[in-house]
Symmetry: D2
Subunit: 264 residues, 4 copies
């Protein structure tokens, strides 16, 4: 599976990231009699079996590929290419700020293509991610992406509208990437355990404002709103500079923690 | 212990983050007959025993605190206050880009106050972090911080100069936060397993340039240099804006992966 | 006068910027029998008379100062120190985007300490800046700052509420730095000549939203909202890096131009 | 002429910026019997003569254009489209930091397409810009752009290598946009008057480092290196956010001022 394996040697059924150069990397499965075509010729996937990750392989026309083990970062970039709005940099901040750890139980909405779901499941397994989405088609896409990642066992996909309620209780974190996160605040407050984390990703300032006001109304504490800008540097000898083009905005990330009520 | 526990109820020996407001949070240990003093009065730590995380407690003069379970993010902010150069945002990017997972074996240098060591150990345990530093005094500080975090079992502290060599082999990642990372590139290349990760944090562009050129010379691939800017938003109803002051620069993060040599 | 002179030689009544180092510069007037005190000793201002700008002078204890001619940039930094919200970087963008030129007639509000007024007057003289503020005390401060700059002849200070109307007609640009710029949009539309410029500086996103919606309602075109981030680099040989601390936010600048109505 | 006129009414020979929407603006000349074609139909330029700037005109298929007077900002964006590396935001910072004013005498290199030359000439006329470039073909392009802007009278184009020397003396500012600015530092020091300005635009950190070290060696003071990031905001009612794509880097701007030597 793409993300769940730990062995150092590529075997049948493994996923590899075929690396050609900084801009061209291909996520593909190692299967017998499979041939992977690129514009730099094809690679016979059979030939990878038994090699160590990191090995170099040549395409039929002599182009040099390296077979890397995909990380969650690589995987979400590939999975989410089309619908992507949460970028890896934003996922990274969430994962560390929440202190995700094996065994946690998390609620997520919406599932989308499952990119964020994969990242969350990777860090909480053998815990569980309950992932809500109203769109069954998205959940079908997510199911495939989770299966390929080897992480489906740690996810419960729920075709439900999270703004109408959260079924689970004593949850460690509620993670939202949806249009109306403020409508989930009351449900999150009910579902979370004491000191549990609320986090929401939103592209617009207006969503942030509504969500923060609602969080305050429900007594959430440690409310922080961050925006991350990622710059890539271009390094040539004697000529180092930031890249000309940059993703200028992905979204704002709102964090909060649940405080329990005073006891009577 | 500060980071290793998983239970929902505060017990003797637990660490809690006493939250007063967005700018005032105190990391402290729950011990019998201990009293924690703040400028808003004192909290009798005894009184927390048996409460759930997230509970509210009052100081003797009525100030309202919430007892949060510290996350690695909270912990590194407290541990590293004085020597801090790697910020949580940068640690987060490293952790996710490397795909840290339980069981990994990692080499780190320098240990410093052990803040990054804690974060790495949190994600790889029951794996191990081999942490090099030439300064025994720093390692003593780190040992205490790791012990308090409950993570010392997953760290091997080594008072050695990593620019002279790495003892370990088949390592998953080499993580550097030191003045001369380019001197470690040859040793990292030897110590890493195929497709293993090199990552280095450096404040200056000149360090980045030297390191990247050396990584290329050793055939490392997928070399990426990133800089993260974190902006905090200030949210009041009808008045949302980024904060006036901002940390404008922490450092550049250089990532690379080891490709194996062609087989003869 | 501080900004209006053009001669190369310092004379009695000139303003000089006494430069000690990158962080210590003092704006002061050259007068007979005047002594300027700094923590690095005092400078006898008499001794500057007849020297060229750029000359070095020594304080009584041997500290080395350079007598620079102040630019508008230097001047606004000194004038506005306390109430400053528009920074020179933002003024610069306005001045060039509007294409300020000698002879233009401009309306500004609020006057504040007169820092922006100085910058505008510097570029439009012998044109005129009509500067509105409801607070007569601010206008007194501004009057002094404009007088010292030698620019008062090109400014008409008006103690009036600009949200109640603009007296002038056929204006080249309306420049706003005030809490409720959207209330001025109708008046600006009336006062501006065809293709005239509207520009407004606002710290919050909410002000921007209200202003842009109102500009659209009035048929303004070429509406652009910009935010400028200024990073300073720290350059030492072999150690180049951005400065650690940075002003993370000053405000958003909204630009628009007036389109005339279709003729019947 | 595109930038030199001041009248409010469009006449034969005027340049107008035909504005269709935020992304489509066309700089064109008003001439009898001229027809300007766009993908939204054509505009008969004759019909603009006698109209005020800001007037609306319709194309033959009914698309609505507004005839704006081009500002230097608009002009440099159009002129420099292909070779552009200095962006208007960077020009703006230079113009204001230097305090450009009518009558100044400035040296510039390289001329390139003349975009920066236009901006400088606009602010110093009736002063003069001495513009050096080793490439006569570039200077021919620049000559045309300056002529169309109506600013050629204020520019002396010199097909010379500025790294070999500057002919002029008592110059107010030296403005560089070239590959090796550090080679010009000695010449700039000689050519500048006391307190005169040196400014250089460079894309890489390495150029900045060499230039700053050379400036220090020659005793320049008030050395500052800035980088400007311009973010554009996207404003819809209830949905305000920064634009997704952004120019992440144009270049660093190095400022310095000449201090005179101590008198013997």
């Amino acid at each position: 599976m793409a993300l769940s394996g730990q062995e150092d040697v590529i075997s049948e059924g493994s996923y590899v990231l075929l690396y050609l150069d900084g801009k061209r990397k291909y996520l593909t499965k190692v299967e017998k009699e499979r041939v992977f075509h690129t514009h730099k010729g094809y690679v016979v996937m059979d030939s990878l079996i038994g090699l160590k990750y990191g090995s170099r392989v040549k395409s039929n026309i002599g182009a040099d590929f390296v077979a890397l083990r995909p990380t969650p970062w690589d995987y979400v970039l590939k999975v989410a290419r089309r619908t992507q709005i949460i970028y890896p940099k934003d996922m990274a901040l969430m994962i560390f700020k929440l202190g995700l750890r094996p065994g946690m139980r998390i609620v997520e909405a919406g599932t989308g293509s499952g990119a964020l779901t994969c990242a969350l499941a990777f860090f909480v397994r053998p815990g569980v991610v309950y992932s809500y989405d109203i769109d069954p088609q998205f959940q079908e896409v997510a199911r495939k992406n989770l299966e390929r990642a080897g992480l489906l066992d740690y996810v419960v996909l729920k075709t439900k509208d999270i703004t109408e309620g959260i079924d689970e209780e004593d949850i460690d974190a509620v993670v939202l990437d949806m249009a109306t996160p403020w409508l989930v605040v009351p449900h999150a407050h009910k579902a979370l355990k004491g000191a549990g984390h609320f986090v929401s990703f939103s592209p617009t300032v207006n969503q942030v404002e509504k969500t923060v006001l609602e969080l305050r109304r429900y007594g959430f504490i440690d409310i922080k709103v961050y925006e991350l800008l990622l710059r890539e540097m271009k390094v040539e000898e004697g000529a180092v500079r930031p890249e000309t083009l940059m993703i200028g905005h992905t979204g704002y990330i709102t964090f909060a923690r649940k405080a329990l009520k005073h006891q009577a």
